[in-house]
């Protein structure tokens, strides 16, 4: 479908799209009542919803729905507005990927979405937060959160002889993130899985308001510290677009360089987690040994094992000399090769493969319906990679080769993680070889404006909306990370598999709860 055709289907002027190319954002203002129809059209076109941005503007609420289109095409952003007390027509019945975004806005802003299947008790757990507290509203005061909460009881979904509800988390036996899974089972198989998250809700978006752009970036890094660079890159690019700031070419290439090194380490850690979940002690040790090697390479060259503090609005806070970049790329490639050797051995271990194959299934239809992103989506036949579709940093000149699988099981996800780790390792020396001369530090002169930024984080598409005030501080920071998109469908992979498969399925998704909860 061409852009004019799509605009026509959306009942907009097809001429609007003239000159809109990849990397630009085409805003389509429309009355709220037309949202469901627009969602209906976009759900059937090759478009992906990145999230929903809600902004309070005095007594009114502005809503934006950014969608990214395929290679060569721009982003489309549906923009609408409602008054306080008005309901927003829900688009979830037409575009199910919007489901959690609407629930989140309902919880945090107190907006009502008409026709939405389930609302309430999502971000703000009933047993902890009072009914009428809406933290993202401007008039929210911290003491509003101290009013009496309401009681909560986990609800069993399965009513049958011998059925029981097994809560897992938020505190675990090992080293795991805080979140809860309510598993309905009749004994062996999980019949129903409810994912209860937001135990780690730190209110990052609220805390960022009024902060200097560079300080807000520290918060974004720590949304998911294990993928800090990728998410901060989405945010910093939003800040730079808003401020119409040019980033030096050297910084652009270095940004891709660090992002690929982070992807390699993050994927290695996911693979190590998958080994651990199958209780294979030696491969687990060997995989974590590789992760440690990559962490040390980052620590030695970036001053931080998780690449904190590298990005700054306008460029990078520190340069990486050409020779160091080449040394680092070679060393990282050597680690990646050792990881690949281990993977080779693992893929010939039948007892390991048996735990992965045809377990934790996500079919292509589900992947599409939930708009799954990253390795989880790509392993279920749902392509899409922002590095290719909406190139940023240095990806236009140094594009990755996409990894893909169709099966949508644990094994397919492992294969995609492995292929992408290898691909990142391939890109590192290429990027190091094309580092332009000049400075990596940029000049950032903020102004009152708003923009969208994005990056392909290790777990998938990450989008960030930033509105800057005239004094350069943050008026609104909206984080739309891939974990939020993918956790939405996780329960489907766990259902109808044996209880002992659960940790393996969980590990194969490689998703952070910190990133989802924010």
């Amino acid at each position: 479908m061409t852009l004019p055709e799509l605009l026509q289907a959306l009942e907009c002027d097809p001429a609007l799209g003239a000159g809109a190319t990849a990397g630009s954002v085409l805003a389509l203002p429309l009355p709220a009542t037309r949202l469901p129809h627009a969602a209906h059209v976009l759900a059937r076109a090759p478009t992906r919803l990145a999230g929903i941005v809600c902004e309070q503007q005095d007594g009114r609420f502005a809503l934006r729905y950014p969608f990214w289109l395929g290679a060569g095409l721009p982003w489309l952003e549906l923009v609408t507005e409602v008054g306080a007390g008005e309901t927003v027509p829900s688009i979830s019945p037409r575009l199910f990927a919007a489901d959690w975004h609407e629930r989140e806005i309902e919880d945090l802003f107190g907006l009502t979405f008409s026709n939405h299947p389930f609302l309430g008790n999502f971000v703000l757990h009933d047993e902890i937060w009072p009914e009428q507290a809406y933290p993202m509203r401007h008039d929210f005061r911290a003491q509003d959160a101290d009013a009496a909460p309401s009681p909560y009881q986990p609800r069993a979904m399965l009513h049958a002889e011998g059925a029981f509800l097994m809560p897992l988390g938020p505190v675990y036996g090992g080293v795991n993130e805080a979140g809860q899974f309510l598993l309905d089972t009749l004994g062996e198989d999980i019949q129903h899985c409810q994912t209860r998250l937001f135990y780690k809700y730190r209110g990052i978006e609220k805390r960022a308001e009024g902060m200097a752009a560079a300080d807000a970036l520290l918060l974004v890094e720590r949304m998911n510290g294990t993928n800090a660079f990728a998410h901060a890159l989405a945010a910093v690019q939003a800040m730079e677009r808003a401020a119409a700031c040019e980033v030096p070419p050297r910084a652009q290439v270095l940004r891709s360089f660090w992002a690929e090194l982070e992807r390699l380490r993050s994927h290695a850690a996911t693979i190590a987690g998958l080994c651990k979940s199958t209780a294979l002690a030696v491969p687990t040790s060997l995989a974590y040994q590789r992760v440690e090697e990559l962490l040390r390479l980052c620590g030695a060259h970036a001053g931080h094992r998780y690449l904190f503090g590298l990005l700054s609005p306008g460029g990078l806070a520190q340069d990486l000399p050409d020779a160091a970049a080449r040394t680092l790329a070679t060393a990282a490639q050597a680690v990646a090769a050792r990881l690949a050797d281990l993977a080779e051995e693992l893929l010939f271990d039948n007892s390991f493969i048996d735990r992965l194959e045809e377990v934790g299934l996500i079919d292509a239809k589900t992947a599409r319906r939930y708009g799954l992103v990253g390795p989880v989506g790509r392993a279920a036949g749902h392509a899409g990679d922002l590095r290719i579709d909406q190139p940023y940093a240095a990806y236009a000149q140094c594009a990755p080769r996409p990894a893909a699988a169709e099966e949508g099981d644990n094994l397919a996800r492992l294969r995609v993680f492995l292929a992408e780790a290898a691909e990142s390792a391939r890109l590192l020396p290429l990027l190091a070889a094309q580092l332009p001369a000049g400075t990596a530090r940029g000049v950032f002169t903020p102004r009152a404006a708003a923009a969208l930024g994005w990056s392909e984080a290790p777990a998938g598409a990450s989008a960030c909306f930033v509105r800057l005030r005239a004094d350069g501080r943050i008026a609104r920071l909206r984080l739309m990370p891939p974990a939020f998109t993918n956790w939405h469908a996780f329960h489907l992979a766990a259902e109808h598999f044996a209880y002992q498969d659960f940790p393996i399925i969980l590990a194969s998704f490689g998703l952070a709860m910190a990133e989802q909860d924010r």
Binding site: A178, R222, A281, Y288, Y306, A317
Partner: protein, 234 residues
């Protein structure tokens, strides 16, 4: 079936010399700010740098390793060593000298602190050789390791876990978030550190603290004295 045991024996171990000696292989630690000009404090996002006369002093518990005071004209002097743990709590009784069981609780971390804890069993650190075990049950736990700023939803699980542990028990707060709230601070959503909720015996600074710093804190709780390269300045 593959012979993984053989494969394990064949592979390089790279085990750290710690705790016999301080190990500072490149990239093991981000280092720490030491001292510097008063002007450095202005850029510190968390108030970890405080002006004292013409110099800046570092409150390591609040340092989030943003590296801002590492570069530029007002840079602090940094040292590539480890900011060790500190605390007033007494070690566990002698019976725990050689072995402890640890319960790990995530009170809202960003993922990096937990990721560093996940590295502890890796061959480079090999936590188990020191008699330290992560336990699946609070009833068997001697030490509660907490990461994160203590979100509202994790406050009660934290109190419940502590209550379920038998005495004697110790609490170790790992990372700037657990120590002081870190970048998340005290807010409507976070308590701003473990000490706001529970008595803390030892605090490990860092964002995140390197694995060796966590090992050192656990050994200190066991009452094992260690080589320490410079005392921490909390």
């Amino acid at each position: 079936m593959r012979l993984w045991a053989l494969r394990g024996l064949r592979s390089r171990r790279d085990l750290t010399g710690f705790p016999r000696r301080i190990d500072l292989a490149p990239g093991m630690t981000p280092g720490r700010p030491l001292d510097g000009p008063a002007a450095a404090a202005a850029a510190c996002p968390t108030g970890a740098l405080q002006v004292e006369g013409s110099a800046s002093r570092v409150a390591l518990d609040r340092c989030v390793h943003c590296q801002r005071c590492r570069h530029g004209e007002h840079a602090m002097r940094w040292r590539a060593d480890i900011a060790w743990s500190h605390g007033d709590g007494t070690p566990l009784p002698r019976a725990f000298h050689h072995s402890i069981h640890v319960r790990v609780l995530d009170a809202g971390d960003c993922g990096a602190c937990l990721a560093e804890l996940q590295q502890l069993p890796a061959p480079q650190y090999s936590l188990h050789r020191l008699g330290i075990f992560i336990t699946p049950s609070p009833r068997d736990a001697d030490v509660l390791l907490v990461v994160g700023p203590v979100t509202r939803a994790m406050r009660q699980p934290l109190l419940d876990t502590y209550a379920a542990m038998p005495a004697p028990k110790r609490v170790v707060a790992v990372g700037a978030c657990a120590a002081s709230g870190g970048v998340f601070g005290p807010s409507f959503a976070c308590a701003g550190g473990v000490a706001e909720v529970l008595p803390v015996d030892r605090t490990v600074p860092g964002c995140p603290p390197p694995p060796l710093a966590v090992l050192e804190a656990l050994l200190a709780v066991m009452g094992r004295s260690l080589p320490r390269d410079g005392e921490p300045a909390p």
